[in-house]
């Protein structure tokens, strides 16, 4: 008898098979991987360390793309900014910050929102009311406003930006997790788990959580993109990171004054990088939504 183990498809394998069905999603995933790899490897692949003032030559300021430095013969593929920074290097380093901020804030906010949402959905009653009213209050303010207020109080800095983005995002996850938990807890396998006398914590985290995850993964994928663009917005407004360590948003802001004088590259290339990053994330997220949507499942 042939082993059935051979044709057992784990849920992960089934997921990957369905994900591969869309070329656009694959393209998005590929671009995203390259962007993340480039961001992670920035210190090794960037021609210049844009944060090291010793490597920056102010005399090379505002050179157009492809220009060669008259001082030391370096080629600036994407031009330089007003301080003589190599734009390619600045973009790579900036993307590093954007990806870091987007991922960290999303993961932490997801964890917080997931736990609170599951508890609210599973326990119900007063705990549910308390958690969800706090989330409602939070969601009734525009997220940019909350982030602005927090950063105004806390001051600028990488950690504080992440904190502000977590504060803005957790409520989305809490809501999604709660609604998923309410649907799942009515199902018989949860009743059966209670009937087996499993401890409540195990029921919530081992049984409820994995079944509530698909909608949260979709929301998280979209939220990474919105966290990155929110960080860029805040940096653009000058509330994000220090000028010496520019993220993509700050780079755009730096070139903004030169747009009308024809020095388009200072704003445009970081903007394009941001655009590509966000479009890639959204392509991946869209396919995730299609694959993980139970209504579109053909099981």
């Amino acid at each position: 008898m042939a082993s059935i183990a051979a044709d057992i498809e784990t849920p992960l394998q089934a997921f990957l098979r369905q994900f591969r069905a869309s070329r656009m999603a694959l393209l998005g995933a590929l671009v995203l991987l390259i962007a993340i790899a480039a961001a992670l490897l920035a210190p090794w692949i960037a021609p210049q360390n844009p944060y090291d003032l010793a490597q920056i030559d102010i005399l090379d300021a505002r050179l157009p793309p492809g220009a060669v430095s008259p001082e030391h013969g370096t080629t600036y593929l994407l031009g330089t900014d007003e301080q003589g920074r190599d734009m390619l290097s600045a973009i790579l380093y900036g993307m590093r910050i954007s990806v870091f901020v987007g991922l960290t804030s999303t993961v932490v906010a997801l964890a917080i929102g997931l736990v609170l949402g599951l508890l609210a959905g599973y326990a119900g009653g007063r705990l549910d009311a308390l958690i969800m009213r706090v989330a409602d209050i939070q969601l009734s303010f525009p997220s940019i406003l909350i982030a602005l207020i927090l950063l105004a109080v806390l001051g600028p800095g990488l950690g504080k930006i992440v904190l502000a983005l977590i504060a803005v995002q957790w409520a989305y996850y809490a809501r999604t997790a709660r609604s998923a938990a309410i649907v799942e807890r009515r199902k018989e396998y949860i009743e059966a788990a209670v009937g087996l006398g499993l401890p409540p914590s195990r029921i919530v985290f081992r049984h409820l959580l994995p079944n509530c995850l698909p909608p949260l993964i979709v929301v998280a994928a979209l939220q990474v993109a919105s966290a990155i663009s929110l960080e860029a917005t805040l940096s653009f407004l000058g509330l994000g990171l220090p000028v010496t360590e520019p993220s993509l948003g700050l780079l755009i802001a730096n070139g903004f004054n030169y747009l009308l004088s024809g020095k388009y590259w200072i704003s445009m290339f970081p903007g394009a990088a941001l655009l590509v990053l966000i479009v890639a994330i959204n392509l991946v997220a869209d396919q995730l939504r299609d694959v993980l949507n139970p209504r579109l499942q053909s099981l």
Binding site: I8, E188, R202, N211
Partner: protein, 333 residues
């Protein structure tokens, strides 16, 4: 089997009452239900949908969600009233001393966890066991319920198993902690008749061998006839008739039981039209006063508007002012 042990009462339910408090008023889903099961004994609870049979089971397990509430009676497991236990102690009873097997095998296993994970955690929730030891016990349990290639099934996800196999897994999980009582809520309804027969047979053997008491909830009289020792017939949240299976099925006294038997297909009445019980069971909100069956009962008179008293004849109990004479309805299991 040791006759002393077989006399031991495992579960005794006394005057159990469970209600739903709704805006439309109080609905008595389980109304003054009493029965008991002994070691190795199989009790069938029969009734239509909405008769309160499942709610009785959920009440025993204390799995009633708001707005449902147990408002009276006692559920004695080896003399200990489960309704008075703190929740944490009740958790230790569930799955350990009383196991439950649910109706739909497609739904009772967690779709994202492998079979071994689900079996091992059920064991380790109640016993301090190593992973390897628990896995070996899980494997044995699967083999005991007649699963072929148990080692490979352990690694499967629920959706990779057929309905019958999943129900076997659910039964194996129920057997894991060697409970004193297993409550089965229509566990074979969703299965093919051949698989149903096998599972009934195996459950019967397993209970007889291990002395586990079994409560089998079903709407199918034929299942009860072949499986159970005792039967309770429920209607409108009340037990209308109970007793030894043979006695109740061959000499039903309550018109509802008689109607159920007459409406079951049987080889002896081939070619004759099946008799039906007129009408449908009223919802709990519309139950008449007195005997719940009186609105559909051909024998009902004015007196039926008051609750009929319990009539006892040995072990045979019924609640009816106009019991059937002992010649009607015969069913040979």
């Amino acid at each position: 089997m040791n006759s002393d042990l077989s006399e031991q009462t495992v579960l005794s339910v006394e005057h159990l009452q469970m209600q739903f408090a709704t805006r439309g008023g109080v609905l008595k889903a389980v109304d003054d239900v009493s029965f008991s099961v002994r070691r190795g004994e199989i009790l069938g609870i029969v009734g239509e949908s909405g008769s309160g049979k499942s709610m009785t089971a959920y009440s025993i397990m204390r799995l009633i969600d708001a707005p449902g509430k147990i408002v009276g009676g006692r559920v004695l497991l080896d003399g200990q009233n489960l309704l008075e236990l703190p929740e944490e102690q009740m958790r230790r009873v569930r799955g350990k001393r009383i196991a439950m097997i649910f109706q739909d095998p497609m739904m009772t296993l967690n779709p994202v966890l492998r079979i071994d994970t689900q079996m091992i955690e059920a064991l380790r929730a109640h016993q301090s066991l190593g992973k390897a030891q628990a896995r070996a016990m899980a494997r044995d349990a699967l083999a005991r319920v007649g699963m072929s290639a148990p080692d490979e099934r352990l690694l499967a996800y629920p959706h990779q198993l057929s309905g019958g196999m999943r129900q076997r897994v659910a039964i194996a999980i129920a057997l894991l902690n060697r409970p004193e009582l297993i409550i089965c809520d229509e566990p074979t309804t969703a299965l093919d008749v051949t698989i149903q027969g096998q599972i009934l047979n195996e459950m019967q053997t397993l209970c007889r061998e291990s002395g586990t008491a079994l409560i089998w909830i079903t709407h199918d009289l034929a299942v009860v006839a072949g499986l159970a020792d005792k039967v309770c017939v429920m209607y409108g949240g009340k037990i209308v008739e109970s007793g030894a299976v043979q006695q109740v099925l061959e000499q039903p006294r309550h018109p509802y039981t008689g109607g159920l038997i007459a409406s079951s297909p049987s080889r002896n009445r081939r070619g004759q039209p099946l008799r039906q019980i007129a009408g449908a069971m009223p919802s709990l909100a519309e139950l008449p006063s007195g005997c719940p069956f009186r609105t559909r009962c051909p024998h009902a008179t004015a007196i039926c508007a008051t609750m009929p008293p319990v009539e006892l004849q040995g072990q045979h109990m019924w609640r009816c002012f106009h019991p059937l004479q002992q010649t009607t309805g015969a069913m040979h299991g």
